[in-house]
Subunit: 355 residues, 2 copies
């Protein structure tokens, strides 16, 4: 079997994350100065970058203890509402740095008084040039359409950003240092990956759930499964799932549950695995978690031995391995899923009028 480009880029992540941390950690004091006396952090992103921003949002609130949120770009691009953002740092996340909607929203944020940060893999991109500070990820060029190393290097940038905004900027450093080796270990072991692929291949419906710090990881897993394996997949937070849609889950469903190895969410995710099994789902596939969580799932895919706050940087690795292998298992090309291109635009770029 010829290795796919996506598989090669998954394996390049330890080096890409190391390079990114080396490049960005020295910028923390610049970021801290930019954010001084500004209370709010607002993320602007779409797609995989939005899933990275969701991690950033939780990390900023839970670790750096500043209010953070996700912008609705159409407020800027379609409604042209002028808001007072003089108390905000606006963080725009885009792999290419060329997604027009995100660049437009950054320009709008500046006009509204915000300080702006770009998180992008495009060092000379429109986004990098326009922002007050550019955190340029060092993924290198990514050839496969599904984002892997460009996504995890965005997560590394989020951890750097959170450190810069926290009182104790180096508190995460020792754990971040361990990330590349953990990703490498997971790429090599593939424990549980093939069994997860078989169970997913057999199920008509897939849902993915997670909560809190790893919620973005669950959404990224859902998005990648959907886009790369071309099946409809729902990504739901544990809480939103419990709040109602769990009623729809039945024997047609495989459930992918994503959990860190520690933290306040593992117990609830374990109970969710028990509950879904009792509801007769086709399979519960656990990614990560602790031993009890793994035991509660039908298939246990090994996750990283990292504390919850930095776990997302490596917890997505086994999910990526599952997606890549499932696409092949289904006879699809993981490197070039139908209907996707590398620089995504929300609206046709040459559209007229006010869209």
């Amino acid at each position: 079997m010829t290795e796919t480009t996506m598989a090669r880029e998954i394996a390049e992540q330890p080096a890409a994350i190391s390079r990114t941390l080396d490049a960005l950690l020295p910028l923390r004091s610049t970021v801290a100065a930019l954010a001084a006396r500004r209370r709010h952090v607002l993320f602007v992103a779409r797609g995989s970058s939005d899933n990275a921003a969701i991690y950033g949002r939780y990390l900023i609130e839970v670790f750096a203890r500043r209010p953070a949120g996700l912008a609705a770009p159409s407020v800027a691009t379609h409604y042209g509402a002028t808001l007072d953002l003089s108390d905000a740092v606006v963080v725009c996340v885009s792999q290419s740095g060329e997604t027009q909607e995100i660049v437009e929203t950054l320009d709008w944020a500046k006009r509204c008084g915000a300080r702006t940060i770009a998180v992008t893999n495009g060092d000379k991109s429109a986004l990098a040039v326009a922002a007050d500070v550019a955190l340029v990820t060092q993924a290198g060029r990514e050839y496969a359409v599904p984002a892997t190393k460009s996504y995890t290097t965005q997560l590394a940038a989020m951890a750097v950003l959170a450190g810069a905004l926290a009182g104790d900027e180096t508190a995460l450093d020792a754990d971040l240092d361990r990330v590349p080796a953990e990703v490498e270990r997971l790429v090599d072991s593939r424990a549980g990956v093939d069994e997860a692929v078989e169970r997913l291949a057999e199920s008509a419906e897939t849902l993915v759930s997670g909560r809190g710090i790893v919620f973005g990881t669950a959404l990224e897993t859902a998005l990648k499964l959907e886009e790369t394996c071309l099946r409809p997949v729902r990504g739901l937070s544990y809480a939103d799932l419990r709040h109602g849609p769990i009623a729809v889950v039945d024997a047609d469903h495989a459930a992918v549950l994503v959990s860190a190895a520690d933290g306040p969410m593992v117990e609830g995710m374990t109970d969710l695995a028990d509950d879904l099994r009792a509801r007769g789902v086709a399979a519960t596939i656990g990614i990560g978690g602790d031993a009890r969580f793994a035991g509660a799932c039908d298939v246990a895919v090994t996750g990283p031995e990292l504390p919850e706050l930095v776990a997302p940087l490596a917890l997505v690795t086994p999910a990526q391995l599952v997606v890549e292998a499932l696409a092949r298992r289904l006879g699809l090309d993981p490197d070039a899923p139908r209907g996707l291109s590398k620089i995504t635009q929300t609206d046709p770029v040459d559209a007229e009028g006010d869209r």
Copy 2:
């Protein structure tokens, strides 16, 4: 055929919305005083209430021109992160006012320095009692499990809130006055509803899309279709759909597109209808929009003749009619969907530990 409770409660909405506006419009000056010199508005909600909050968020930003966002409740309930919310008004939305997670998050917000507003149908509920100001909706008791009048009265409360926070608090009043009659007209006409039901009954997969001010309406339509008709449904913003998942849409899918009759989103939604038809979806079902939008969809379900800013209060009516009729068409009881109860709890209420 005996009328279902859900159908009766859909028809009660004109009176419920009128009562709610009468009760809440006089509270605008109280809300304005509470929010004076506070810049940010933060919503806390789950499920249908969260969909109402999404409308509230757009309306506060687009109409009242204040930064607004959606809280991540687990930051309060699971991570116990203390944030500086001395610049924020926190709006907690819960039909019952007894959802423990939402009440806990309100208490947390107060400790973080926020002023708090409850939007609830429970006038003596824990949420109403704990908040600085309670906007008590006048839906009356709702017996069917799927929220209809309790949801639209929450939307009315959002419009009142936005008015209170805007410079010109009465600017929406003339349009709000017209809402009850529009809802009544739509309940009576049912134009396009039965055809939409037939097309949805025939399709294996359903997705729902909308954008901006009516995005919450699209998510509420998706949630109701899923919970009441017990089928997996994905609700996606126009922008997120375009950004990738549109690649998965095929002949197994029916697409429900939700649009106001005017505003900056109609043109893009019309193009989306054209695009989805070109991709060979089983059916495009348009709810609302203008004549061009209706013409671009396979089935046109009539929406309200109201400007975009207040359209959600009546645009959900035809969606509710479709959900109620589709449940019956599928042999289900719309009044008591499997596995749902009226007061929703995110976590088991008697759970121990830190969940």
